[in-house]
C-alpha cells in the first residue's frame, strides 16, 4: 500500500523534475552503479514533494499578502483563531508523507549497505593525501580498477586522520577511520573513468586527495591485473622507486619537477646541502633520506611544517633503498 502510493508520488515527481531514471537528471551525476537508481528515485520523490510544499507555502503567502493587504476602509475579516481539526490534519498529513519518504530512503539504504557475499574484495588505505588500493594478487595501485557488472567490496582503513571515500557516480560514500575497518560496496554498470574524492576534511591537500575509478570492460580487468603484477616483478630499482613514490602518495607533497609543495621537491635533492629548522644543515645522502622516511620529524627542512607521518612498518628496507635510488636519479 505504502509502496504503491510512493510509486504514484515518484511518477508525479519525475514529471516535475522533467527526467526519468534512465536519462541524465539535472541534479545528480549520471548514474553508473546498480544501487544508483534506488538513491535517485528517492531523490526525485523528495524533489517532487518538496517542490509541491514549497510552491504551496510561497503561493499562499503571496496570495494572502496581496488579497488581504491593508486597506484604509476595512480591518481584518472575522476568522477563527484556531481550528483543532484542521491543525490535527496538517500535523497528520506531513507525518504520513515523511513516513513514505523514510521508508523509501530506508529500503535504498539497505541496498547500499548490504554487501553481496561473493563480492570481489579490494583493500583501501587512505592517508594524507592519497589513496592506495591493494588487489588480492598483491598488486597495489593509486587508482581503483574494477570489473564491470561485478560487485566490489572495499575494506578501508586510514593511516592518520579520518578521510571519506566518495564516488559520486556510484552514489558511494563512506568515512575511512583510523583504528577500525569500514566497508563499502558497489557494482559498476558502465565501463569508463569516474572521479573518487576525499569527502572528509583532512587538512592541506584535502581538495587534491583524489583517485580515478576505472571500470574495465568484461574480461579486461583480469588482463590488466595480471599485466600490472607482472610488470612489477621485472622493475629496476629506480623504476621500483618510481612506483613506490606513486602508490605511497609521496607525490602529494614532494614534486619531482622542482615545484614547491607541502614538502621539498625531490628534483636535485640528493647531494644538496639543506638547512634545518634548528639552524643546522646537512648534505642529503642515503642516511638522511632513510631517517626522513622513518622519523620525519627529526630533521625538518627550514620553511616546511613537520606534518609528515612515519613510514616505519609500511616500507621495507628494500623499498626504502628503491626510493633512494629513484630520488638519486632525479638530478
Amino acid at each position: 500500500m505504502i509502496g504503491c502510493w510512493s510509486n504514484a508520488v515518484s511518477i508525479g515527481s519525475v514529471v516535475i523534475a522533467g527526467a526519468d531514471l534512465q536519462r541524465e537528471s539535472f541534479w545528480l551525476p549520471p548514474p553508473a552503479s546498480s544501487t544508483a537508481p534506488a538513491v535517485d528515485s528517492a531523490f526525485l520523490l523528495l524533489l517532487g514533494i518538496s517542490t509541491f510544499f514549497f510552491a504551496l507555502i510561497v503561493l499562499l503567502g503571496l496570495w494572502f499578502a496581496i488579497r488581504y493587504r491593508r486597506r484604509p476602509e476595512t480591518g481584518p475579516l472575522p476568522s477563527p483563531s484556531h481550528n483543532t481539526a484542521l491543525e490535527v490534519l496538517w500535523l497528520v498529513i506531513p507525518l504520513g508523507i515523511v513516513g513514505v519518504i523514510f521508508y523509501h530512503g530506508f529500503s535504498g539504504y539497505l541496498q547500499l549497505r548490504t554487501i553481496p557475499r561473493q563480492a570481489y574484495e579490494i583493500e583501501v588505505v587512505a592517508r594524507k593525501w592519497s589513496w592506495l588500493f591493494s588487489y588480492p594478487n598483491g598488486h597495489k595501485d593509486e587508482n581503483l580498477h574494477v570489473p564491470v557488472d561485478k560487485p566490489v567490496r572495499l575494506v578501508m582503513r586510514s593511516e592518520d586522520v579520518i578521510h571519506g571515500l566518495f564516488i559520486p557516480a556510484m552514489r558511494v560514500q563512506m568515512d575511512v577511520v583510523p583504528g577500525r575497518y569500514t566497508r563499502a560496496w558497489f557494482r559498476a554498470t558502465k565501463p569508463g573513468e569516474y572521479n573518487l574524492w576525499c569527502s572528509q576534511y583532512c587538512g592541506t591537500k584535502h581538495f587534491d586527495m583524489r583517485a580515478l575509478v576505472i571500470v574495465h570492460r568484461p574480461g579486461e580487468f583480469e588482463t590488466w591485473l595480471a599485466d600490472a603484477a607482472k610488470a612489477r616483478e621485472t622493475l629496476s630499482p629506480v623504476e621500483r622507486g618510481r612506483e613506490l613514490y606513486r602508490i605511497n602518495g609521496c607525490w602529494s607533497c614532494h614534486s619531482i619537477d622542482g615545484t614547491a609543495g607541502t614538502g621539498p621537491t625531490f628534483k636535485g635533492l640528493f647531494g644538496r646541502e639543506v638547512q634545518f629548522q634548528d639552524g643546522t644543515s646537512s648534505v642529503v645522502d642515503e642516511n638522511y633520506i632513510r631517517q626522513s622516511i622513518l622519523d620525519p620529524q627529526a630533521k625538518v627542512v627550514r620553511g616546511y611544517q613537520p606534518v609528515m607521518n612515519t613510514y616505519r612498518g609500511i616500507l621495507s628496507d628494500e623499498e626504502i633503498s628503491a626510493l633512494i635510488a629513484f630520488i638519486k636519479s632525479l638530478q
Binding site: L28, W197, C198, S199
Partner: protein, 540 residues
C-alpha cells in the same frame, strides 16, 4: 539628534562605567547587539575572503593552508559568537523582562557575567587568529584536531567559556519565565517569543555542558596524551562525533527556535489578527527542543555508524520536521483574512517563510538515509544549513530588530529604505547559496580549496561559483544598507511613539525608548494577541 528624547535607559545614568557595570537587561542587550554585530562583521569578512578565493579555479588570492584557516574561523565565529547568542542575548535580554512586565531578569548579575564571558570567549578566538590560527573546521573532528599544529587549545578554551555565557543566559530566562510572570499571564497566555526562548533555554542548559566536557576531553588528550579520541592511544575518533553532535545538532534549534518565536510575534501584528493555533505553536517549540536531542546521529550516516542506529536516527529526524511544518501552516493561517501591512518586519517574516521553507525541505533530503549518502559532505549540506541559519535565524533576527527597533532606540527608520534593503538581501542570498545546492548534488565536496579537478566533468562549476561569489558581495552590500538605514535613524529618524505598530504586547506599553526603570505590569495582563481594542494603524 533632531529632537531630544525623554529621559530613558540609553541616556541615564551617563558614562562608560555606568554602562560596563550596569545590571539593566536593556543595556546588556544593547551591548550584546554591538558585540554580536562586530563579530558578524568579522565572520562576513572571512566569508568574503573564502568566496573571493573560489571565484576562479586554482589559486586566486590565498594558499590552501590559509583557505583552511579562513573557513574554520568563519564557521567558528559565525556559530559560536553570532548565531548561538544572537537572538536570545540581544532581543531576548532586552524584551523578555519587558514582555513579562518584570523589573529585570531573575539574576541580573549573572546576566552581566554572561556578557563578560562572551567578551573573554571572543578574545580567545581572536587570540587563536593571532597565534597560529585554526584549521580544524568549526567541528574540531578528531584525530585531525589532536594532531594539527594550529592553535586548537586557544580556540577550544574560547568555545568552552562561550558555553558558560550561553548557559547563564538560558538559566536566567528559564527562571524568569517561571517566577516573574505577571498576574493573568498563564502559560497559555504567554507571548510566543517567550515560549521560543523557554524551549531554547532548556536546550542550552542541557546540551551546552556536553560540549564543554567534550572540548575538555579534547584538551586533555592534546596536553596529557591520554587516549580518548585518538585511536593510536586507544581512543575512538567517532566517539568525538557523537559527543560533538549531541550538542551541535540541538544547537541548530538553539539558533532557530527564538527566530520562530519572533516570526510568531511579527505575523499577527502586521496581519492584525490573533495568532492562529496558539497552543500548537507553543507546544511545537517544546516538541522541537525535546526531539531535537534525539537526532544527532543523522550527521553520521556515512561515519561507520551501524545501520540500525542510522535507521532510528533517520526516523527521529523526520519526526522533528513535523512541528516546524505545523508552525509554517499556522503562520499562513494567521495571515488568512487579515489586514496585512508589508512593513519591513513583515517583509522579513515573508522572506523567512520562503528561505526557511527551502532550508527545512532540503533537510528532508539529508535526513533520508539513501539520499544522504551522495549528498553528505557536499556543498548541498553547506547550502542547506545556510538556508536554515541565515534564511531562518538571521532573517528572523532582522525581522525582530526592525520590529522592536523603535522601542529599543526611540526612532522610526525609513520604511522604503528598509524594505529595499530586505529585498536586496533576499535576492543576493539566493544568488549566493542556491548554486551550492546544484553543485553539491552534482558531487562538489565541501571544504575544497580548489574545484579545478571537477571542471572536466562539470565545467559549469566555474559559473556557479562566480554567481555565488558575486551574490556574496551583494549580500554584504544589502546587510550594510540595512544597518545604515537603522543606524542613521538614530540621528535622522522621527521620535517613535510608545506603540508605533499598535501591537497588543506588554513591551509596547512603556515609552520609547523605555525609561531606566521598567514600569510595573498592569493589575491584570490580557491576551497577548488580542487586537480587538486596538485601532488598525494607517498604511505606512
Amino acid at each position: 539628534m533632531t529632537e531630544s528624547l525623554p529621559i530613558n535607559y540609553l541616556t541615564y545614568p551617563r558614562g562608560l562605567r555606568c554602562w560596563l557595570l550596569t545590571l539593566d537587561h536593556k543595556r546588556i542587550g544593547v551591548m550584546y547587539l554591538v558585540s554580536v554585530a562586530a563579530a558578524l562583521v568579522l565572520g562576513l569578512l572571512f566569508a568574503l575572503l573564502m568566496r573571493t578565493e573560489l571565484i576562479a579555479p586554482g589559486r586566486t588570492i590565498m594558499g590552501e593552508d590559509t583557505y583552511n584557516r579562513v573557513f574554520t574561523v568563519h564557521g567558528a565565529v559565525m556559530i559560536f559568537l553570532v548565531v548561538i547568542p544572537g537572538i536570545p542575548a540581544v532581543l531576548g535580554n532586552f524584551f523578555l523582562p519587558l514582555m513579562l512586565g518584570a523589573k529585570d531578569v531573575a539574576f541580573p548579575r549573572l546576566n552581566l557575567a554572561s556578557l563578560y564571558l562572551w567578551w573573554i570567549g571572543a578574545l580567545f578566538l581572536l587570540l587563536t587568529l593571532a597565534f597560529g590560527g585554526l584549521d580544524t573546521g568549526w567541528t574540531f573532528y578528531t584525530p585531525y584536531s589532536t594532531s594539527t599544529n594550529t592553535n586548537v587549545l586557544a580556540a577550544v578554551t574560547g568555545v568552552f567559556i562561550l558555553g558558560f555565557s550561553s548557559i547563564f543566559t538560558a538559566l536566567n530566562f528559564i527562571v524568569s519565565i517561571h517566577t516573574l510572570r505577571p498576574p493573568g499571564m498563564t502559560w497559555r497566555r504567554m507571548p510566543l517569543f517567550l515560549w521560543g526562548l523557554y524551549a531554547t533555554g532548556l536546550i542550552q542548559v542541557l546540551a551546552t555542558p556536553v560540549l564543554g566536557i567534550t572540548l575538555l576531553l579534547l584538551a586533555i588528550e592534546r596536553i596529557l596524551g591520554l587516549g580518548i579520541f585518538d585511536s593510536t592511544l586507544g581512543g575512538d575518533p567517532v566517539l568525538f562525533q557523537h559527543f560533538f553532535w549531541f550538542y551541535a545538532h540541538p544547537a541548530v534549534y538553539i539558533v532557530i527556535l527564538p527566530g520562530m518565536g519572533i516570526i510568531s510575534e511579527v505575523i499577527p501584528v502586521f496581519s492584525r489578527k490573533p495568532i492562529f493555533g496558539y497552543r500548537f505553536i507553543a507546544y511545537s517549540s517544546v516538541a522541537i527542543a525535546l526531539i531535537g536531542f534525539l537526532v544527532w546521529g543523522h550527521h553520521m550516516f556515512v561515519a561507520g555508524q551501524s545501520v540500525l542506529a542510522s535507521t532510528i536516527f533517520s526516523a527521529l529526524t523526520f519526526l522533528v520536521a513535523i512541528p516546524s511544518a505545523v508552525k509554517v501552516f499556522n503562520w499562513l493561517a494567521t495571515m488568512y483574512k487579515g489586514s496585512i501591512e508589508l512593513a519591513a518586519p513583515m517583509i522579513y517574516a515573508l522572506i523567512f517563510l520562503f528561505l526557511f521553507g527551502i532550508g527545512g525541505l532540503t533537510g528532508l533530503f539529508l535526513g533520508t538515509l539513501s539520499v544522504n549518502v551522495p549528498l553528505h559532505n557536499t556543498h548541498f549540506v553547506v547550502a542547506h544549513f545556510h538556508y536554515v541559519i541565515i534564511g531562518g535565524a538571521v532573517i528572523a533576527f532582522l525581522a525582530g530588530l526592525h520590529y522592536w527597533w523603535p522601542k529599543m532606540f526611540g526612532r522610526m527608520y525609513n520604511q522604503t529604505w528598509a524594505r529595499i534593503s530586505a529585498l536586496l538581501i533576499f535576492v543576493a542570498f539566493n544568488m549566493t547559496f542556491f548554486p551550492l545546492f546544484i553543485m553539491g548534488a552534482r558531487g562538489l565536496v565541501r571544504r575544497y580549496y580548489d574545484y579545478s579537478a571537477f571542471l572536466g566533468t562539470n565545467p559549469e562549476f566555474t559559473l556557479y561559483n562566480q554567481l555565488a561569489t558575486i551574490g556574496g558581495y551583494l549580500l554584504v552590500t544589502g546587510l550594510v544598507s540595512m544597518a545604515t538605514c537603522l543606524i542613521s535613524s538614530l540621528w535622522t529618524g522621527r521620535p517613535a511613539p510608545a506603540n508605533p505598530w499598535n501591537a497588543p504586547g506588554l513591551e509596547w506599553q512603556c515609552s520609547s525608548p523605555p525609561p531606566p526603570e521598567n514600569p510595573p505590569p498592569p493589575a491584570q495582563v490580557g491576551d497577548p494577541y488580542d487586537f480587538s481594542q486596538l485601532a488598525v494603524p494607517a498604511t505606512l
